[in-house]
Each structure stands twice: as structure tokens, then as C-alpha cells.
Point group: C2
Chain length 297, copies 2
């Protein structure tokens, strides 16, 4: 398996495990797909499924999962604390390995077109796949939720499909985005002001690094503080750059980095890029990692 | 494929490609094996095959390759510039992932026993599998080669099998060792004395780091010099430690590291261990690397 796309569809059912397992089964039934995880949240009444594979297999599996969810979930009866637009609420395609963002956007479009044509769903494109700036942000697209969209869909023409919500499945939001890497940097001080100040210096929104979101947090148990970051594009803005900038900013407070944390799954490239920086590696290829030879055909 | 052992058998045939392909075929025929490479050297008259897999599959494939080589290669007719003891000259087992050195030594013993019993080969255990210190070093075990061993095997009782060489296949040397990582560090000077002096400071043999072999070389094209290292145990002596020591030693000459090179295949753990050092990562597990989920069952 050379090229790799991840897909993380969110379905509007988080209580009926048997139902969700039918959706997961439809996804897993597609050859070439590797299911990484699925989880249900009862309060949100929402399930999140994570799978990877080569682009065409992922596209097919995303469609099969959506088809099953449209068949089984009725939005007229759905209640939950998480905002949602439809039975198949959101489907992002995430390039992981040797797949460009352009190709991921192509997958979002191909899926959107098929969902509209074969399942009669209105489809909105978001994030990198958005065609208009006001649909880039998922929260903006989802504003008003299923019930709101039913009232005023004529003012919000979908990118694919009919200008009316599906009678039971609502609408679906499809898009493409980079994988997020959750990266935290712990500081050897208990002064929360320092963490907040450094977070401000490092995040894009307030004059720091592109593609970095950051907040300052207290770690009560450790009597330390943390700069907690979401790296939203680890290719353009690698992990080491954020870490080195934090070290530089910390110096003015006489503070040092005591440790760092990577939370959840991290694509290999995000690690290798930073290792290349720190070890000054010339011409290193991920193909030289022995384990990578094992899943290449 | 969770657990991983590498095996790199050396066979005494480097000219007849058809013959070598029959041996490779016998290895590849074992389920669960992934062939990584094989190459023939005509001058040495020797072939080297590299494959990986789970321990039991690797053991079986090593046996099948040996059986085919014993059937096809006649040491009485063998000539080549590389020292050798038998048709199946050397078979090292190399733990790569979630396999201990003890288990690799166990594989060497299991194979040695089977080669003796089923193929009537005398077998010597070397490196980590050696039972006596004088058999640790491969070159020592191989001294005198096939022809010499025929003369005096009564003074060199094998660890398994008969005290006489096999009439066509000679003897076989089986063992266990860590994977080697070839790691070069380039310096921004053309003074070869500096590279030689630093190599001397960093290598085990002259007071440096355990598990590091190092020499100083001139890189004529680049008008630079290089400390060229073999890291013989990257778990006990990680790459970063050698690099940081070289930087420290270089400072006394006013010299800096201009870049580094990793040559050939590198196990993922060798990279992750150094990344953890440089990024001060707390509690990072290789299991968090997304790609690693793809070849785990």
C-alpha cells in the first residue's frame, strides 16, 4: 500500500451500537481499506469512524458507509449535543502519504457528485475543497443545523445535489484537509501568564507561525504550564519549527522546555521532517525506513 | 505483521543467477516472508539475500534457503575472493521490532540444530549466539576457510552436527546480531587529521562510545572530511549520542557539522529514539505512527 488517504466520516448516531456496526461493516467490506478506529458518543449522539487506504478504495468505502447511514438513520428523530446537518454529517479526506491536496479535493468532489446522484443528498464542500470562502470553516457551513437548513436551503444552494434536504438524511458536508497533529510543549514554570504569552507569540492568529493554533494551559498536577498546539499543516509548518520558536520565546522569561507530547496518531512524515532538521540529514528518504518496505507492493 | 526479524543469509554462489534465483525462490515460497533484496557478486562468488518476517516464518525460510543451497552448490568447485566456509556460509538473525536478542539467539540455535539433523551440516554459532568467546567474531570462525576446516575440524568441534565437513556443502555459521546502521557525519573542514582525530575520540576501540566503529575519510569532491560510523547497537548507543559527541569534539578544532547521512535501510526505532531525544518527547510510542497501524493484525 503505497499511497495513502485517510477518511474520518462522522455519522449522526452515537447510541445504537448495532446500527453503527452495520455502517462500519459496509466500510470495512471494501477491499484495500484498513479500519483504524471507530467510537460512539452517546451525549453527542454521533459516531466517528477512521479508516485509510489507497485513494480509489477510500472513495468507494466512504460512499458505502454513507449509503448504509442514509438507509438506517432518520434525522427527524435525531437529538444530540453536537451540531449536525445530516445522517452522514461530515466526510473529510485527508492526504497522508504520496497524495496531494489536489487529489484529496478531487476525491471530495467525486464523492459529493455520487452522493447527490445516487442518494439524492444535497452536498456542501468545506475546508480545502470549499468553492467559496464562507464554506471553508465547518462550523459556518453547519450553522442552523439540520432543522435550520430545512427552513432556508433555497438561500444556501448546495455544491452538488438538490436544493432541498433529504427527507430522512438531511444534508452532507464533504471536504479535504490536512491531518491535524496535536503537539504540546511543557514549560518548567507554573506561571500561566508565560504559557499564554508564548502561545500568543507562536500561533498564526496573533503574529506567529502559519498553520499553528496554540493556547496556554495550566498542568495542575505537574505544577507546570503547557503550550498546547494544533499543527494544521505539518508539511508547510513542521513540528521542529514550532518547538524551536517556543524555546526562543521562553528564553526571555528565563523558562525552559521540560518536555513535549504528541497526542494520538501522527503521520510518519511529520516525524521524519523534524528528525532531518535536528540531525542535519542530507538526502534521507522515508523509503530507507526498513518497516516501510513491508507494506509496499 | 507485528514482530519482525531480519535474516541475511550469504550463499557461496555469485555467478550463476539462475541457481541463486532457485534459492531465493525457496525462501520466498514460505508464507509470511517479505524479500527485501538479493544481490550477486561475481568476484566474491557470493550472494547475499535479505528478508524479514515474523520469527517462525523467518526460521522456516532460512531453513528452506539453506536446503536448496546444499542441494545446488558444490564447495569442491567453489572459488572466489571472499572467505567462506560452506555453501550456506553465514546466516545471521537480526531482531528488528518487538523481538529480543534472546529470541534471535533462540532462532539461531533452532536453525543450527535442524541444519545438523536434517542436512547433516556441521554448524558454528557466532556473534551474540556464540557459546565461546573465540567464536564471537565471524572472521575468527571462518579462518582457514572451507579447505582449512576440512583438514582440522577434529580440533574445532562444531556447536551442532558432525565433526566432519559436509562433502559438498562444507560447514555453516549461524548467529544473531543487532542490525548495523551506517551513519556518516560531514565536517566543514578539508583537514583529514580532524576527521581522524574525532573518529578516534568517538569509537569504542580508542576510548569513545560503546557500540560505535568509526573512521575518518576525505570527501575529495566536497573538499570536506567525514566521520564514517557503523553503529552496531543503536538501541544501547543511539544515533543522537554519536552525533552530539562529534559536535562536542569538533568544537575544539573550531569545526562544525555540515550535514549527516544515513546509508541504506534503517529500522524505524533508530530514528524514533533520536527524535525523542531532540524533541524531548515524553511517552511517545511507535504505535502512534499512523503507518504502523497498517501492517499490524
Amino acid at each position: 500500500m503505497d499511497r495513502l488517504v485517510q477518511c474520518v466520516p462522522n455519522f449522526s448516531e452515537g447510541r445504537d451500537r448495532t446500527l453503527v456496526e452495520k455502517i462500519v461493516g459496509a466500510i470495512e467490506g471494501v477491499e484495500g481499506i484498513r479500519l483504524l478506529d471507530y467510537s460512539l458518543d452517546g451525549d453527542h449522539n454521533r459516531a466517528v469512524v477512521t479508516f485509510v487506504g489507497e485513494p480509489q478504495a477510500v472513495l468507494e468505502a466512504a460512499y458505502q458507509g454513507a449509503r448504509k447511514a442514509v438507509e438506517l438513520i432518520d434525522m427527524e428523530k435525531h437529538q444530540g449535543s453536537h451540531p449536525r446537518m445530516g445522517a452522514v454529517d461530515v466526510i473529510p479526506f485527508i492526504p497522508i502519504k504520496d497524495v496531494s491536496m489536489e487529489e484529496a479535493i478531487g476525491l471530495a468532489n467525486a464523492l459529493g457528485e455520487r452522493l447527490a446522484k445516487e442518494l439524492d443528498l444535497p452536498v456542501y464542500l468545506y475546508e480545502e475543497a470549499a468553492r467559496v470562502p464562507e464554506r471553508k470553516n465547518l462550523a459556518d457551513v453547519r450553522r442552523g443545523e439540520y432543522e435550520g437548513l430545512k427552513e432556508n436551503i433555497e438561500n444556501r444552494k448546495p455544491d452538488y445535489g438538490p436544493s432541498r434536504v433529504h427527507p430522512t438524511a438531511g444534508a452532507t458536508i464533504v471536504g479535504a484537509r490536512m491531518p491535524l497533529v496535536a503537539f504540546n510543549v511543557n514549560l518548567d514554570t507554573a506561571d500561566i501568564k508565560v504559557a499564554k504569552q508564548i502561545a500568543k507569540s507562536v500561533r498564526q492568529a496573533s503574529g506567529g507561525l502559519s498553520n499553528v493554533k496554540a493556547i496556554g494551559l495550566a498542568l495542575e498536577d505537574r505544577v507546570q504550564v503547557q503550550v498546547s498546539m494544533n499543527m494544521v499543516n505539518y508539511v508547510k509548518t513542521p513540528l521542529y519549527r514550532a518547538l524551536e520558536l517556543i524555546k526562543a520565546e521562553a528564553r526571555r522569561y528565563g523558562v525552559r522546555v521540560s518536555g513535549t507530547e504528541l497526542i494520538g496518531l501522527v503521520p510518519q512524515q511529520a516525524l521524519v521532517d523534524s528528525l532531518k532538521y535536528y540531525m542535519q540529514l542530507e538526502d534521507f528518504s522515508e523509503n530507507q525506513i526498513l518497516e516501510n518496505r513491508l507494506w509496499q507492493e
